[in-house]
Subunit: 348 residues, 4 copies
């Protein structure tokens, strides 16, 4: 009954096997090996972007911060949601990598609206050198609250950015989950919607630690390459990153894994329907739902693992509803999930 995060579970066997396969003989270092080159080519094909520049890094924070540093001058500001991972969960990595840029929060939901984005961008207009210059728009897909932007919504945000000459960054830590939820292609969710740089995350979807950063305009690639090295994120034994990504791409494993995670989440939502207060649409692999404090305590005592998102388990009122985050990863056992639902239904 593991719902704590999608970075707690194991990697699929195919990924470990790919590592073992790659572990033979000698290979050129720093990404010049054939496997790395092949993976880049396959990513370009997947994204229908033959000119794109592709770089692998090992963490999502590195992927985001490096991508933003290439798009954003230190005297600019990045527009993002108040719940964005780059704002909440990266310990100032974007500020560090950009050399001190600011993050300007777009008020509202975890899903920014085009209207709110436009209002904030206009609000920074005419500030001369006193405020920061307006910089990239960063969109998180799936959002930190488990919601998925429609392609229309993405396009509307990107249109606002383009109207003001601002580039668009997509934080795709859960890119696959969104793609599966929308039933769309990677190209549709990125450059066809107006995204300039996308992070194609693998770590939360079954890899040990690999994210691909895709620049649809390759002119920005050289700066990224230097910044990656300068940030300590260029692996000498790059083939081990490439091998993971190769396994991820083979036979659309990435879709398969995300499909499983999303399916588990849908089952969970269905199972809790009518009992819990469901807080989000749960199209992807995260469900936010409220249950009474006393029930949370009993579930955890039974071994369920997840995070209380609002409120605290400590508290007097056993009936108080506390919202929890339930994350389903690809490896989540369907029987375990059913056991959890049964416990909830039985009042644990």
């Amino acid at each position: 009954m593991q719902f704590a995060s999608d970075n707690g579970g194991p990697a699929p066997r195919a990924v470990l096997e790919a590592l073992a396969e790659a572990n033979t003989g000698y290979a050129p270092a720093y990404g010049t090996d054939p496997l790395s080159q092949e993976v880049e080519e396959r990513l370009r094909a997947l994204f229908e972007a033959p000119e794109a520049a592709v770089h692998l890094v090992a963490t999502g924070t590195a992927a985001n911060a490096l991508a933003l540093s290439t798009l954003c001058q230190p005297y600019q500001t990045v527009f993002c949601s108040p719940q964005a991972h780059i704002h909440m969960d990266e310990c100032n990595a974007p500020e560090f990598y950009t050399g001190g840029a600011k993050l300007t929060l777009v008020p509202g939901d975890d899903r920014m609206t085009a209207e709110a984005l436009r209002a904030v961008i206009l609000g920074e207009e005419g500030r001369g050198v006193h405020g920061p210059k307006r910089g990239p728009v960063s969109i998180t897909q799936v959002t930190e609250y488990g919601n998925v932007y429609t392609l229309e919504a993405l396009r509307a945000l990107a249109d606002v950015a383009r109207d003001h000459g601002l580039p668009v960054h997509l934080d795709g830590a859960r890119f696959a989950n969104a793609c599966v939820a929308l039933g769309c292609t990677p190209a549709e969710m990125t450059w066809k919607a107006g995204v300039n740089v996308a992070v194609f995350g693998g770590t939360k979807n079954g890899l040990l630690g690999v994210e691909a950063v895709i620049f649809f305009d390759p002119a920005q690639a050289e700066a990224f390459a230097h910044r990656r090295k300068r940030g300590g994120h260029l692996f000498s034994k790059h083939r081990y990153l490439a091998a993971q990504m190769a396994a991820y791409l083979r036979d659309d494993l990435w879709r398969d894994l995300a499909g499983r995670a999303n399916a588990r989440c849908a089952e969970l939502a269905a199972g809790l329907d009518g009992i819990a207060e469901i807080r989000n649409e749960a199209q992807a692999n995260m469900l936010f739902a409220a249950l009474p404090r006393a029930l949370h305590r009993r579930l955890m005592a039974e071994g369920a693992a997840y995070h209380i998102w609002e409120g605290t388990l400590e508290g007097d009122d056993p009936a108080e509803m506390l919202t929890a985050r339930f994350v389903c990863d690809w490896a989540l056992d369907a029987a375990e999930l059913q056991r959890f639902v049964d416990l909830v239904r039985a009042g644990a």
Copy 2:
């Protein structure tokens, strides 16, 4: 006949097996899992430093730059050799992570002498706020030219640093090779010699990508932890770093691997003795040796892989002696090495 680098070869089977073993079930993220905790404990034991703070990162550049950023204010300077990896090969990572500190090069050999270090430190004295304030001393063991500091030499350098109140950083990308060459303990080569922060490298000695940063004064650990996260170097699935390091420590695998690499290098030096002009003592796993241009060309045509260090293969004079770097890694095949030596002896 692979002498190009010690980051081109495969990882030992035990490392891949450890990854597979770690790949079961769910584990807490970000280094809070039991395996990560156990590995930290074992590193403390190995270094005979029960209070030390231990952090794993995936690249040597990250390890060095993060360690230096914790020791060095942005208005300070780091003292190091002109050949230091932090100066030559990290694309300004130390400058980036420290927020703009300078590197002051200690003239002379790749192995700094205590006299030269003291002279440079004294030369920066009395500069008030005009020059940078004096900061850490960074020592590379094994040096980039394949030389090993004796314990006496390390202590002498650390004494100079301590005389001026400066901390000492040890870049140990080839820590194991040095330790084996000196026949000493990790403690003797670090805190017992006056080192404050050491990088215990694994990547060049058989791991996929793991380095341990050891702070012998744990007071600096909290800052390091935040800086690691801010740099994008905290792995969510930290157990896969820990598993590699666990395998590396088990039954002193790290010593075993380094011993093999050093032995190959000694064999190579012996094999080339009297033919090549040997440039360094080659106590560890790197040999610098000069051969005629024409011979280099023939060797490479036969499949030997290594880097010309001084001069260029292009050139008219077939007899000109060109110094090459030969790096032996743990996996280097002894028969292949013998084939190479035979080719050299036969004039290829």
Copy 3:
């Protein structure tokens, strides 16, 4: 009828005379001259802080950003009001000087309440390395909306900071105006209230460009001195900064100038009372007040200079109330002020 800013008016004759007096013979550079030393001593006396470290810089942005950089690690966050100058008007200078720290905005009024500050600080608790570590609290006195914290309010904020081990920075660009409004001593408004570092602004109160940064704990002085030089803010001909500050301190000129500015503002508020919608208490030298759009247009046509703060002069409805900011400086002519009031009363 000049209400646009307190950086548009002239300097008092005494300041120019002090510059001319200082302009004789040769003086040691970089702040080691006798006049600079004397001014530091007098500032320590004024603040009743014989141990304080005092540094002069030429701009308020430099004063704030350098002070914060000394208090704040790059992986920390600064707590401030959403209207704070450091957030709104310094083009990322705090982010730049701290090496990438974040600014966390305390919701509410331009005057932070202790409750709101405590809630935000507590909200950042337990975030481990994912969020920034909690850093300094920055208080602006007078606020950007012309309000003045009482000494009780300052103490309450500083108490919250101290409860969490956080240092307190006071942005005192209008320090003198606040001091006069409160009828307190500089010591009462700073270290006696719990402030660790204060900016004693002179530029907005009649100087050409000088601010004093006062560290009540001199241990932080050395870092500041290096950071000032590194930021390009150490004047070689430092005596010309010192001369301005000397004139400012002589016979409490700073109080006299601020008193005049505050008095003009009070007259303006009284004059507009019953006609304009007054938005703030206007204890210091800034009045925020709303007038109909058509009246604004006529006043500006008559030569009045000030900024519309909310809304825009362009617009159809002549009766719409638009809030403007009226800033009174020390040199503001009382007759001109009366002429402005008369124009308003006459409907311009």
Copy 4:
């Protein structure tokens, strides 16, 4: 007998008068006032560069560091002399403002040769992402050792830079002294020689503290403006910077002042000829010359002020020759200079 520095003397009366003249009435802030605009126009005319972007700052360190930050990416390196002010005397300001770029020192004299520069630039070729990317070339005119590049030498350096696509920065803290020494126009010493960004220094030549940064390609101006503000170097009361520069430009005061300083230096060199060991050509306003230790002591006892450049006054051998730096500023009294020469000739 003041030879310590050209930042110790007074400003000419005309500069103080210009400040007083500018100190009337109200003026728009932040450089939008008419005087600031006029000064920019006059600088463009002086440099025969009608399209140039001109910005004033108050210190030479700010001018250099901001200029370099606009030319140089954080992952690049700046090529300069080992004696360059940006390397030796700015406490890491270039590293800070560029976000962590490196300075690569061109071996040799304080005057870089085109050959040495080309060799160093070529030495950084082919380093991929491991070394920094090659960035701007920074030339100091007059050098820190009092030497002046000929126009031919400047052009040769700029040609090397242009051959590699690198921009050229001119640190002109003593621009006027060089221009007078060469008998050339500002245009000839800058863009006509291939300089992209020049600092036209005023502080060392009689101003209280103003330097103009001239971008001959105005495309870089916007970034500079934001960086100036972000660095805390945009003066709100900008007219007081502009007034100084206006006085400096009026009737070629800058040439007149530099001419005086250079003339004093020539007189000093002539006076010491045959007694001291002259170390440099002393075309501008700095003489490096060696005298016996005992004589230095007597001269200083008589009130002469200057810095010993090599060696130390403390020492046993009274006859040891110690090189000193003698800096002549515009205000240096000719009679005092003669008195000094007489003392030297008399053995003090």
